[in-house]
Symmetry: C2
Subunit: 372 residues, 2 copies
């Protein structure tokens, strides 16, 4: 195994593959990156068995790649990244010299690193699932960032730690909930597919980091895995087993109150009150009437805050409703600013938030009871 | 107690005072900032009993300060900082309304925070010690950053956790050592003072953060404490008890070998090899001769590195010397780049590093024995 490759491209590709690697993987081989020098390309693979990333480096106008001897090896990710990032040359020379001992050379700097045999690396099946659709990188990024924050971080109901993607009638519904709040995004796609899968939130975070706005992403799924194919990179993730709860019945359809407010103003007000916590939670109370909308919070230990929401306009009878400030804050952030409409049913009923000019996203929050 | 003050200036002053506050202080009052509204000024005090900072805010062309009622209160530092940083107005209103309940108002946002009585805050003696000299902020910053990194982080010999400042014949000697390396800076001052004190490294870090390059700092010391007086701020620190070791005899005066090298080149080479660790330490070996200077490192687990130091020139018989790479790296950083001269006595003798064009700083490192 012997090749030369542009430092910058090699480093970028190693970074992409290393994203799948976890520091806590029980299998030693999974702390490494598998590097395969094929006839005309370098294939780099990283995995923690839940998520696997394979990226391919080819020679092009900008990327020097000269493969003199094919072969494969696994090198500890943190070492190879460190070496290639800091090496003193624009072109890196990579050579297996004795068993698994690998020489990586720059200009005057030269490293000899103990690798692992590629045969010790678990076989990962990168075959492409049947169901397949194409989505813009930018849109996929929105789908993920506008929903995944609402997934649960507790393992008590594993299915809630993922985002549910269900597709029918050329419409993709993406839902996340931790049972106290819910985020839902709806996107039209070109294919008439039929699936219902739940993808771990953690895997979707890696998709966001890997994808580029301007490029299309091919998404392929079956009942075992999902693949995101972006340019030269395949990100593959396991799915979460279990039936995702039927969430549509949770979303109210009729409302008695409506609040319209500038998202930035409300974000500022919630942020200002966020240090007033009881038992680690910042509970905010909206006191809403057609005359005045006030946001307040109170904690026996810290004190209280009170703020008139000048940009708010409210229709309906007077209403007091309390909820976790963090949930409203996250939901507003996901709506990307601008004017936001709150539709409410009552003091102890879930309420929904939507951007005035974009009904593809819906954010729902459950209120809490306060005795203040 | 009732005053109005510019948000920006109030926030900056609170930040300065809060630097002295530790999250681990056993005394609850020390988690707060004492705010005193006097006739024409606000005085803010923060302390963790080892370090105390007092800063004074006065009305000037840029800072609005309107004190309508004098008084004093202690407010939890993290709350008051959070409130003032995020408040929705350029001028903050501050009013004690009931016992220790304090109202802080912006434009529409209003907070009521439970404070503590100023009488519960420990009395801190800010009286000025006798021995006094003036030093440029820029120079003091250099004194601290070029030495304090070499202090010990272990409490086994407390005196080594500080930087020793000794003064005689209008010369200030500043020394730090953890017994494996030593940093020494010498500065001329205008006063003929005589003292020998050791200041905790932690306190000096706070001095660096507080001081501004272009302003003079008045340094005053006695055998109990040191004060750094910068514009409107006094930073006062306890000293470390105990006799500081006599370090001059550790610094060799005669040398058999000399290595001159570009600091940036060597920093790069050490940095590249820094991931090759044995028992958590990256040991580097210099193989020096008049023909070629080579830096190498080796670990049974990871592998090895080797690099020819092209910018090096060496005089003397051939020499191999090994040491902790981190120590040489830190020392080179403290010398601020450029050409550096290593003066060496032998394989197991301490060596010193100095910038070619600045002999006010000396860095010493002890070699280690290797069996590779």
């Amino acid at each position: 195994m012997y090749f030369k490759v542009s430092k910058k491209d090699f480093y970028n590709a190693l970074s992409v593959a290393s994203r799948a690697i976890s520091n806590f993987s029980p299998l030693p081989a999974f702390s490494g990156i598998k590097i395969e020098a094929k006839e005309h390309e370098l294939v780099l693979t990283g995995s923690d068995s839940d998520v696997s990333i394979q990226t391919t480096l080819q020679k092009d106008e900008e990327c020097i790649l000269e493969i003199n001897e094919m072969g494969s090896i696994v090198i500890e990710a943190k070492y190879i990244l460190e070496i290639v990032r800091k090496i003193d040359a624009d072109v890196v020379e990579f050579e297996m010299i004795d068993g698994t001992l690998t020489k990586i050379s720059g200009n005057t700097a030269e490293f000899k690193i103990n690798g692992m045999r590629a045969s010790e690396y678990p076989a990962i099946d990168f075959s492409k699932p049947q169901e397949c659709f194409v989505i813009k990188g930018e849109t996929l990024k929105k789908v993920i960032t506008q929903t995944s924050f609402a997934t649960s971080d507790k393992e008590t109901r594993p299915v809630l730690t993922g985002v549910n993607f269900s597709c029918e009638n050329k419409t993709l519904h993406c839902v996340a909930t931790d049972s106290y709040r819910l985020a839902k995004k709806t996107v039209e796609i070109n294919e008439d597919l039929n699936f219902n899968i739940t993808i771990p939130s953690k895997s979707l975070q890696e998709v966001v980091k890997t994808l580029e706005d301007d490029f299309d992403v091919e998404v392929t799924v079956n009942d075992k895995k999902a693949q995101f194919i972006m340019k030269n990179t395949i990100l593959q993730t396991r799915l979460i087993d279990g039936v995702y709860p039927e969430t549509n019945r949770l979303i109210p359809l009729e409302f008695s109150y409506e609040l319209t407010i500038d998202a930035q103003d409300l974000l500022g007000a919630i942020d200002r009150a966020s240090f007033i916590k009881s038992d680690g939670v910042s509970v905010i109370k909206f006191s809403l009437s057609e005359e005045e909308c006030v946001l307040s919070s109170r904690s026996v230990e810290v004190g209280s805050s009170m703020e008139v929401l000048n940009s708010a306009s409210f229709t309906g009878n007077s209403l007091e409703i309390s909820c976790n400030g963090r949930y409203v804050f996250d939901a507003l952030k996901a709506l990307n600013g601008g004017l936001v409409k709150f539709s409410l049913c009552g003091e102890m009923k879930p309420f929904i938030m939507q951007a005035i000019d974009d009904d593809s996203v819906l954010q729902l929050v459950l209120p809490v009871r306060t005795y203040a």
